[in-house]
């Protein structure tokens, strides 16, 4: 199953949702304490503790295999979709345990949307792409309004308003990614998880997405995984740096959180030498 498929399945399953009374608003959206993620017996990431603040952009950076995407996927329980994945530790969402059996994963994924590395519009019209989520989620209201608002918030409306019934597949890569953002925000989430959302885009399209993130952070809390350190520095309020450590006995690597700080601080005067070595290109 592809990630796009899983997204569809979630939204279809969301038809009869009820608001979860356990989840209450607060200025800290996520509190992560001693989080470890296992694939079978292999521990992919260990002992991650971070707080994600409301209406901020939090960036996860680090080398390949450091577990940043694995951690990101924990925030909307995407790892539940992998049979052998197991989460230890605690992630609380507005004070409620995100992994409590009473919490409905489908509701979690509506409140916590995701934008993926590669733009993945459905092979449908631009309008239908945006309207799909609200329809299956049973959201009431004028669908034309919802579509227009979502496309406006994703800074795409002016470019597509005259061809809403055209195929989304005809859009450029950058437009497709903004369409995916419009699709994600059409179901009125609180949080947007972005997994390297610009890695398949050219610099101009990347700049538009970065600008868009700044524009929408008043409405959403954003967590972004990026390989591009300059992007993390440009867009985020706080940055978490992950790296890998070698497990000598099994010759495997486990991701570990090295440092989490205000972005300006982390990129100007990091506290940990490993962070300094990574962001200045000095390894070893």
């Amino acid at each position: 199953m592809t990630l796009a498929d899983s997204e569809i399945r979630i939204e279809v399953a969301d038809r009869d949702r009820d608001p979860d009374p356990v989840i209450e608003p607060s200025s800290t959206v996520f509190e992560v304490a001693d989080l470890s993620v296992y694939y079978g017996s292999f521990r992919a990431v260990r002992d991650v503790s971070v707080n994600v603040a409301e209406h901020e952009i939090t960036a996860f950076i680090g080398p390949s295999g450091c577990g940043k995407t694995t951690v990101l996927r924990c925030f909307n329980r995407m790892n539940d979709l992998i049979d052998i994945a197991r989460v230890e530790g605690r992630i609380s969402y507005h004070g409620a345990d995100l992994y409590d059996p009473a919490v409905e994963p489908v509701e979690v994924r509506r409140r916590i949307g995701m934008v993926f590395q590669k733009p993945n519009p459905f092979p449908k019209s631009i309008y239908d792409n945006v309207a799909f989520g609200p329809k299956v989620a049973g959201i009431k209201g004028d669908m034309d309004d919802i579509v227009e608002q979502s496309l406006r918030r994703a800074a795409l409306w002016d470019e597509v308003k005259d061809r809403l019934r055209s195929s989304a597949m005809g859009l450029s890569g950058g437009q497709q990614q903004r369409l995916c953002i419009a699709r994600a925000i059409a179901v009125d989430p609180e949080v947007l998880l972005m997994d390297e959302p610009c890695s398949a885009l050219d610099p101009i399209a990347t700049a538009r997405i970065e600008d868009l993130m700044q524009e929408i952070k008043d409405r959403y809390t954003i967590i972004i995984v990026t390989h591009n350190m300059q992007q993390a520095a440009r867009v985020s309020d706080r940055t978490a740096f992950f790296t890998t450590e070698v497990n000598e006995e099994s010759d495997t690597r486990t991701g570990v959180l090295v440092e989490f700080d205000r972005t300006e601080q982390l990129f100007s005067n990091p506290a940990d030498k490993r962070t300094e070595n990574y962001i200045t290109g000095r390894f070893g």
């Binding site: 300059q230 520095a233 990129f267 100007s268 990091p270 962001i279 200045t280 290109g281 000095r282």
Partner: protein, 240 residues
């Protein structure tokens, strides 16, 4: 894992080496200029003044390379602090070189005048102290020595005291013998030039401290403004 930005870091190292070269040129000019002044060496004064073009050329070359690195490499963390420090230090060093040019020009203007022996002695000592401070600032940079960088501020007090004694000595010499006014003014300015070189050395120390630790000097002026503003603003209750 191997280092992955070798060329970039080589550029940073080259900039640092040239900052040190510029600093060494200025450090040499402090005793040289002092000798020129005390010996009335017009030929030496001319050489020192013309030689400043060499300093300026290196200064501009370093500055342009710093901008290039900033633009093309987008340095971060310690690399960012290193390049910002180089840009700031470059100006401090170049300005110190200009101050020694001023000393050489003063030597030309007061050529033929006799100085009071005490004034001569104090010029010698100010020159030595300015050179010591400047050398120490450059050593702190070369060796990434946070301690030396931090000590410069206190050490500069000696030069400040010497300069006060020097001005006093100029006044005392002026009251006891017939003195050329041009000479007195030039000598007073010379004291100021050495004192300013000490200040530049202290500034370099602060920049080096920042480069090593990320520490920035206390913004004393900004703090005073904040206090004044808080005193000027009437409490909310009074406004009501």
């Amino acid at each position: 894992m191997p280092e992955i930005r070798k060329t970039f870091h080589q550029h940073l190292d080259e900039i640092k080496a040239d900052i040190l070269r510029l600093g060494a040129m200025v450090t040499e000019r402090i005793p040289w200029g002092t000798d020129i002044l005390l010996s009335g060496n017009l030929k030496g004064a001319e050489e020192l003044i013309q030689g400043d073009d060499e300093l300026d050329a290196l200064y501009w070359d370093i500055e342009e390379r710093c901008y290039k690195v900033l633009t093309l490499q987008q340095p971060m963390a310690g690399d960012m602090r290193s390049i910002v420090t180089a840009i700031r230090m470059n100006s401090e060093i170049e300005r110190s070189g200009d101050l020694m040019v001023n000393v050489a020009k003063a030597a030309r203007r007061i050529y033929g005048s006799e100085f009071d022996p005490k004034v001569r002695g104090l010029i010698q000592r100010m020159g030595e102290e300015a050179r010591r401070l400047f050398r120490m600032a450059m050593d702190a940079y070369a060796e990434n020595d946070e301690g030396k960088a931090a000590a410069l501020n206190d050490m500069d007090d000696d030069l400040d005291t010497l300069q006060k004694d020097y001005i006093k000595a100029i006044f005392e010499a002026g009251t006891t013998e017939r003195t050329d006014l041009q000479c007195v003014v030039q000598l007073a300015l010379v004291g100021r030039y050495y004192e300013r070189i000490g200040d530049h050395a202290v500034n370099i120390g602060e920049r080096v401290h920042y480069m090593i630790t990320g520490w920035l000097p206390e913004h004393a002026g900004a703090a005073r403004v904040a206090v004044r503003n808080s005193l000027d603003s009437p409490p909310a209750a009074q406004e009501a």
